[in-house]
Point group: C2
Chain length 246, copies 2
């Protein structure tokens, strides 16, 4: 199956960095706090970060007490920055696709993946690889776009009233899984839609027990500061899972 490397595209990369640097972006407000809330204690743990990007999470894991962190990313460009901005003796960065991690000759207590798995076609293959790289009782925490978001397959995502307020999301093709071509800074960014049931079953059928799922929503306090995020009550952007190897 195809392995996708959009982050080495210059235009995409610039757009991505600007988005992530913007104050009040959805990642910073919703995805990151939820992801970190799902982590077990990292004290003296060996951690695998899949789709580590510029290494920000890897560095944070070291600050939180991790003994060793291996960051994997398909993008050479992202890892160049990681090695410059987030270098540490306890961190190794590996330039490879998530689909190829079975080549790693180490075992881990925790595998983490932040907003990368919806770019992967062979989710089951990656889950199997992660299972084989985890120690017994090891934990797998990941975030991805919510399935009611990944199903989107063109056209307008929202129906708005005459004042531009979002009335409802236009939900179509939730039951049709697979590739979606989307435009995100550049044309033809490929995402892969999987229903909730497929994500759940891929984990339970490959040696994981699901411990917790989060679909992050804003608090009233947060909405007072960022009212635009009220649309998350129509559709949460993200879905996160903590699963344990059995």
């Amino acid at each position: 199956m195809a392995k996708q490397n959009i982050y080495d595209n210059e235009i995409f990369f610039d757009g991505y960095r600007k988005l992530r640097d913007k104050e009040g972006n959805a990642n910073e407000l919703f995805e990151m706090p939820a992801l970190f809330s799902l982590l077990p204690s990292l004290e003296n743990k060996k951690i695998l970060d899949l789709g580590c990007g510029c290494g920000g999470h890897c560095m944070e894991f070291v600050r939180m007490g991790a003994e060793r962190v291996v960051g994997v990313d398909i993008s050479q460009k992202m890892l160049e920055i990681a090695r410059k901005e987030n270098a540490h003796e306890r961190i190794s960065y590996l330039n490879m696709a998530m689909e190829d991690i079975s080549a790693i000759d180490e075992r881990f207590d925790l595998a983490v993946s932040s907003l990368a798995l919806h770019y992967v076609e062979d989710f089951e293959g990656v889950v199997k690889n992660i299972h084989s790289l985890l120690n017994e009782g090891g934990v797998f925490v990941f975030s991805q776009e919510n399935p009611i978001v990944t199903c989107h397959s063109g056209g307008s995502r929202w129906t708005k009233d005459e004042n531009g307020n979002k009335i409802h999301m236009n939900l179509a093709n939730y039951g049709i899984e697979g590739e979606r071509d989307t435009v995100w800074f550049v044309d033809n960014v490929k995402k892969y839609h999987r229903m909730f049931s497929t994500v759940v079953n891929t984990l339970t059928e490959n040696g994981f027990v699901i411990e917790k799922m989060i679909e992050p929503l804003p608090t009233e306090e947060l909405l007072a500061k960022y009212p635009d995020h009220r649309d998350l009550f129509h559709k949460p952007d993200f879905m996160l899972i903590r699963a344990r190897k059995i």
Copy 2:
């Protein structure tokens, strides 16, 4: 919390029976096969059927080898029919709310609930009760309306083109859980919306491991006979889970 008994309303009951008797209805084509596919062997098993209605499933469980079946329903009217049409020495019918089953002084190998739990406000209370009534390793299989269906809170569910074809579902308020007033034969049928994450976490936080989730979709063969059901690819009507007591 409120316990709801709509089935003892005459108008509702007549509408319901006609719907269920209609050939090619969604229950018969999608929900029932999925529910039965999730059942373990019933040979010599003790089974609890929550929201058993007219007892059709209870009778089927006996045919499949069950040693004993206890059917529970809040509707006196449904149970009258059950006792007439689906009586068997291995079946007992109990007229009580699902919220009250902790009063049952028996233990079961399997708890089943077909399309009843979205009428229950206190899902966690029911899950806890089921856990306490199951033997170690016991199985809980249930179906409910899909969360992308239960979230609906008024207005038109679909956006259609000029020929009346469904273009997309109007998804709103998925992130706002709780009571929904719907019209289904009669006004003010109350359903309770819970996000996927809430359903999953209520199980995993109360002593269950999720083994499988199904969101039933039609096969091409079935669509050839019932083309109207193609809209299930936009939104599956149902969601089913098999969980095991740990």
